[in-house]
Structure formats: structure tokens, C-alpha cells
């Protein structure tokens, strides 16, 4: 599969997700979400591929594009990928938190799981992309590289995680929370701004890692202590008479996720010819399984245990999201009990 085919595939996926969002969340959220994700993606990728003044001075661009396509195409192509990843992560995370009664309909747990979904997606895509030559990194971060397959490094995964969380946090807080009526709501734009400033002024290595670590701690603490409720703007939903069409629209993100998995499996097995790369798909598979309402949690745990036994330490990335889910599930139950005993 070449870059052009990838572009058509991701564009088609994006259109399907826009249709889903329009029907499920209304025009306003759909328009703003995809517009801002486009701006965020373009801004990031233009800097990545073409270099910003600061990156030219201090650091090489993180990865180079090996093909003969114009750079503008590469930037747009990757941006479409980001838009797709952002929406899928939001959707899957929402479905996962729906299965946690205490955290259902809460913003911060959804945000956290969105980051995990994107990190899982990045692992699967990076492993394939590096091996088939869609792009290549100019450096390699050795930390925890034994736990990952396909020459993927942790830096890529954490970069995808934090970029998503920093994009979704202001969007969800400004558009989908109680703050959306506050005159000062735009202050939430300072969340991604702080990260950018850390990278520009203090550097992309240790200061960035320290900032991200502090942000992670804060996110987890807030997620547990004050998860914040979703409050969507009202919209007139379109009534679809045909039940099949309504079901189909409902299932569109899942169809896109499965298609991504299928394409990656095809590329890994047929084009690259390396079956070990399939291990990189496991975290995403487990997260999709967690998001399915009809699938029992015990089945997911059993599957996770089998993976752990079969693949050993390379199955660790797949185990983490399930452990997080279990932790939140137990915590939610404890907090529920605490609340019930506090209110006589």
C-alpha cells in the first residue's frame, strides 16, 4: 500500500466519521471538532515536516518523509490521519467510560482513555509505517524498547498520547462541558499553549518530559477527584426512518476501526511479511473489545491473560489499558459505596 492509497483510505474513513458525528453530535460540535483538529494537525505537521525556526535551530525534524510526494501532500495526509485518530479515540473512549458506572458521561476519564486509544493506534500504525517505509524516524529512544515490536519507540507513543490529550482537553472543556457558557472559557486554550511554550523555550527533551509527567499526574488526580460532567450543546437530531441506516451510522466508527485493523494486518502480513508486527495491534484490539457493550469484561480479561502468557513482556502494552479499566472499575465501586454511606 503506498502513501496515495493510504490518503484515499484515511479520507474515506474521515468522511464516514464526519457523517457519524453530524448525526450523533450535531452540526456545531462536528464543525468545530474537525475544524480545530485540522488546524491542530496542520500546525503540528507543518512544523514536523517543514521545520519551525526553533526546530531548525535546535533539533532535527523528528522524522523524514522518504517518498517523492510533495511535502504539502505529506502534511495534509498526516493531518487527515490525526483528525481520524482524534475522533476515533473520543468515540472509543466514550464507549469505554460508558461501561464504568461511576465515570460514565464524565469528561476527564474520557480524555484519559482517548489518550490511551491514540497511543494504541500509534503503536499499530508506527510499527507498520516504519517497516513499510511510509516514514522513518531520525532518532531512536531506547527506553522500554524491549516491550515494543517493529522498531517502535516509546517517544512516538507518548507524543501521540500527549498531543491528543492536549487537543481534546480544551475542546471538550470549551464545547462539551458546563464551562461552555462562561465568558472566560477560552482560557482553556492555555493547556496546549503551555506545552508548546515548554518545548519552545525549555527544550523538547528533559523539560518536556518533566512537564508531561506533571501533566499526567494532574490529569489522573483530577480524573479521580473531579471527573467533570459532559454537557453538550442542544441540537435538533435528524430522525432516520430506516432502522438499518440508523444502525449503520451508529456503527460507522467501529467499521472504520475494524477497517484500520484489517488494512494494517494486510500490510503487516502481505506487504511487509512480518507476522510479529501483529503484536502491535493488540492494545488497540483490547481497547475496542473494552468499548463493546455486548462483550463481557471477563472475556477481555481472559484474552489479556492468554496474551500475557503467550507473548510475555511484549504483551505489556496491551495489558496496561485493561488494568487501567479494572482499576477505575474498582475505584468507582469504592467511591460509590463511600457516597452511599455518606448520604443517609
Amino acid at each position: 500500500m503506498n502513501t496515495l492509497q493510504l490518503f484515499f483510505f484515511s479520507s474515506t474513513g474521515l468522511i464516514l466519521l464526519i457523517i457519524h458525528s453530524y448525526h450523533k453530535r450535531g452540526f456545531r460540535i462536528t464543525f468545530n471538532f474537525f475544524l480545530f483538529s485540522f488546524i491542530a494537525g496542520m500546525r503540528k505537521e507543518a512544523g514536523t515536516f517543514l521545520g519551525t525556526p526553533i526546530s531548525k535551530m535546535k533539533y532535527p525534524t523528528p522524522f523524514v518523509h522518504p517518498n517523492d510526494y510533495p511535502l504539502a501532500f505529506s502534511v495534509v495526509n498526516t493531518t487527515i490521519g490525526w483528525m481520524l485518530a482524534f475522533y476515533l479515540s473520543w468515540y472509543i473512549a466514550e464507549k469505554i467510560t460508558d461501561k464504568l458506572p461511576y465515570f460514565k458521561g464524565k469528561i476527564l476519564p474520557t480524555l484519559f482513555f482517548s489518550g490511551l486509544v491514540v497511543a494504541a493506534l500509534s503503536y499499530a500504525i508506527e510499527a507498520t509505517a516504519i517497516n513499510i517505509g511510509w516514514w522513518k524516524w531520525v532518532f531512536f529512544d531506547k527506553h522500554f524498547s524491549d516491550f515494543l515490536v517493529g522498531g517502535v519507540h516509546l517517544f512516538a507513543l507518548s507524543a501521540w498520547f500527549y498531543f491528543t490529550v492536549h487537543f481534546l482537553a480544551p475542546f471538550l472543556l470549551i464545547e462539551c462541558s458546563d464551562f461552555r457558557k462562561a465568558g472566560w472559557r477560552c482560557l482553556f486554550f492555555l493547556i496546549p499553549f503551555l506545552r508548546t511554550c515548554t518545548m519552545i523555550f525549555l527544550g523538547s527533551d528533559l523539560p518536556r518530559m518533566l512537564y508531561e509527567f506533571a501533566f499526567f499526574i494532574l490529569l489522573v488526580a483530577l480524573m479521580i477527584s473531579n471527573p467533570l460532567d459532559f454537557n453538550y450543546p442542544e441540537f435538533r437530531s435528524r430522525i432516520i426512518k430506516r432502522r438499518f441506516i440508523a444502525k449503520l451510522i451508529e456503527a460507522l466508527p467501529l467499521i472504520v476501526s475494524l477497517l484500520i485493523l484489517l488494512v494494517l494486518i494486510f500490510v503487516d502480513l502481505v506487504k511487509v511479511g512480518d507476522a510479529s508486527l501483529l503484536i502491535s495491534l493488540l492494545p488497540l484490539v483490547l481497547l475496542i473489545m473494552l468499548s463493546l457493550r455486548s462483550l463481557s469484561l471477563w472475556l477481555v480479561i481472559l484474552f489479556m491473560a492468554i496474551l500475557g502468557l503467550v507473548f510475555g513482556k511484549v504483551a505489556m502494552p496491551a495489558v496496561i489499558p485493561v488494568l487501567v479499566f479494572l482499576f477505575l472499575s474498582v475505584l468507582g465501586k469504592l467511591l460509590n459505596i463511600q457516597q452511599k454511606t455518606a448520604t443517609p
Binding site: 475544524l35 488546524i39 507543518a46 472566560w184 477560552c186 492555555l190 499553549f193 511554550c197 519552545i200 523555550f201
Partner: protein, 332 residues
């Protein structure tokens, strides 16, 4: 005058502008305006593209300080430009409260302020610029004037169209958010040569056309204003931006005359002085035009930059008058 003193003035001026904006335009508009301009300029100053000086990026602390210094100046400039532009176009009844006319005048004010600050900064060697590489007594238009002019056009256009135009109630209003990024992407994808010149020419032409023909007006409906209580006098709040502008001109004149001891540099203050004069409704336009002609006779081509905003306003006045006459004829 040391950098720190000027920095302190900028911060104080900014606080006064924020107070004025809060009482005149409300919390939401004030927060959004100063927040977005701060974020855009701070990042650009961090990557040196809007930095007042060019320093090698070596220490993080000095980098942060220099970017903060540039940001304080340029945010102040943008705040002043909105106020001065608004007051200037308020002179012409026909164009009063028209968004694109204000964008044009606010951008011209930004350019005039940047010109005055940059010429002084380059000649005083602020923040340790070696004197040898300074512009000396050169009064040529620095490149940053042009860059900040276009930057302000995109910024003001996006901000006004989203926050205070009739589009503010539309669900798709955030599409205007793309405007400031368009300029960056054109440069990034197509380069700084002809593509940038073509893009900037198109923007300038479109802005002039829209300034004359677009009827789009400011819509402040739904904005809740706080009431000035106690000892805060509304008249004083009203005067704050003018006070800041005049103090800025005074400081720059002081530096040019006393510290640098080069009175020729005062010519760089002419454009902003004329814009301030135009923004004071009590001063008749004919008086400003006469003063401008006198400056042109004395300083010749060096006073052309100062003549442009006055000439433009005279044309707007004439166009407004013609439109009024046309309307009178059609109704009678």
C-alpha cells in the same frame, strides 16, 4: 532608558488597556482579545519571528525574557491599535462601526506603532544589540513593520468576525479561526518569495475593497458590561488608552532626544502622532491635513508614511459624503 523600565511601562500600559477594555467591552471580549493575541505573539516571539531583537537561542531564561519583552510591547500595540482605529473611523458617520474599515485602520496603527518602536529600539541597542549592526539613524521601514501589519490584518479579521460581527451567532463562525494560520501556511508551503508577495497583495487589495464596500458592522448585542462603581470614574476609564498612547510617544521622544540624542529619529513618530490626532474627535480633520502638508513640506519623502493614514481618511470622508448625497437624492 533601560529595557526594564520600558518593560515596566508596557506592563502598566497593558493593565490600563485591560481595565478600559473590561469596562467598555465586557469580560468575554477582553479575555478573548488579550488571551489570543498574547498566545499568538508569545509563540511567534519564542520562535524569533516576531522578536524585537535577534539573539542566538542559548539560554532558556534569556530566551523567555526576550520573548516576554517583545510580547508585552506587541500586545500593548495591538490593544492601542484597536482603540485608536475605532476612534479614527468614528469620525466618518458612513463608515462608523464598519468592521473592515476598522481592520484597515487598526492594522495601519499597528504598523505606525511598530515603526516608531523599532526605529528607537534599533538605535538605542535595546537588550544588548551591538550598536554596529543597528540601523543607525536610518529611517527605512523595518521588515517587522510589514510582517506585523499583515499579522494584525489576519488577527483582527478573525477576532472581529468571530466575536463582534453578525456571524457570532452562527454555528460555523469558527471557520474564521483559520485566517491567521493561512498566512503561515502560505509561507511554509510555498516559500517567502513571490507566493508571499502575491498573497499579501491579494489581502491588501481585498482589505481596501472591503473597507470601502462591505457593510458588515460591529454587533455588540448580548455583551454585558460591568458598572464602574465607587471612585472609578467612567470618563477616566475612557481616557486610559489615549493616556497610554501619549505616554508611549513621550517615552520614545525622550529616548530619541535625550538618550540617543538624534532628533531626526522623531520623524519615525510622525505616523502614530497623526493617527492619535485623527482619533481625537475634537480636532478638526482640516487641521490635521494642514499639519500633514506642513510636515510633507519640511520632511519631504520621510513624511510620506505619516501622510498615508491622513490621506486615506480624507478619501473615506469624501466617499462617505458621496454615499450620503446619493442616498439623499434617491430618497428625495
Amino acid at each position: 532608558m533601560s529595557t526594564l523600565i520600558f518593560f515596566n511601562f508596557c506592563i502598566s500600559g497593558l493593565i490600563l488597556l485591560i481595565i478600559n477594555s473590561y469596562f467598555k467591552k465586557g469580560l468575554a471580549l477582553t479575555v478573548n482579545f488579550f488571551l489570543f493575541i498574547f498566545m499568538l505573539i508569545f509563540i511567534n516571539a519564542g520562535t524569533q519571528s516576531l522578536r524585537l531583537i535577534n539573539l542566538p537561542v542559548n539560554t532558556s531564561l534569556s530566551n523567555i525574557f526576550h520573548a516576554t519583552f517583545s510580547t508585552a510591547i506587541w500586545v500593548l500595540v495591538f490593544g492601542l491599535a484597536w482603540h485608536i482605529g475605532e476612534k479614527t473611523i468614528a469620525r466618518i458617520a458612513y463608515f462608523k462601526a464598519r468592521i473592515f474599515t476598522l481592520i484597515l485602520y487598526a492594522a495601519i496603527t499597528v504598523a505606525a506603532l511598530v515603526y516608531a518602536v523599532e526605529i528607537t529600539a534599533a538605535n538605542i541597542g535595546w537588550l544588548g544589540i551591538p550598536q554596529a549592526i543597528n540601523a543607525g539613524s536610518c529611517l527605512g521601514l523595518p521588515d517587522i513593520t510589514r510582517r506585523l501589519f499583515y499579522f494584525s490584518v489576519y488577527f483582527f479579521a478573525a477576532y472581529f468576525l468571530i466575536s463582534v460581527s453578525e456571524y457570532k451567532k452562527k454555528e460555523w463562525k469558527t471557520i474564521f479561526f483559520v485566517l491567521p494560520f493561512l498566512h503561515t501556511w502560505v509561507i511554509q508551503f510555498f516559500g517567502k518569495g513571490y507566493p508571499q508577495i502575491i498573497e499579501e497583495s491579494i489581502v491588501l487589495l481585498a482589505l481596501f475593497l472591503l473597507a470601502f464596500v462591505s457593510p458588515l458592522r460591529f454587533d455588540y448585542s448580548g455583551v454585558s458590561l460591568p458598572k464602574a462603581q465607587g471612585r472609578i470614574k467612567p470618563r477616566l476609564i475612557e481616557l486610559l488608552p489615549m493616556l497610554v498612547a501619549i505616554t508611549l510617544i513621550f517615552i520614545l521622544s525622550f529616548i530619541d532626544l535625550i538618550t540617543i540624542q538624534n532628533p531626526r529619529l522623531l520623524i519615525s513618530l510622525l505616523p502614530i502622532c497623526f493617527l492619535v490626532l485623527l482619533s481625537i474627535p475634537r480636532i478638526p480633520l482640516i487641521f490635521v491635513i494642514l499639519l500633514n502638508i506642513t510636515c510633507l513640506l519640511i520632511f519631504k519623502k520621510l513624511a510620506i508614511f505619516a501622510a498615508l493614514p491622513v490621506l486615506l481618511l480624507a478619501i473615506f470622508q469624501l466617499a462617505g459624503q458621496l454615499q450620503f448625497n446619493k442616498k439623499d437624492h434617491s430618497t428625495s
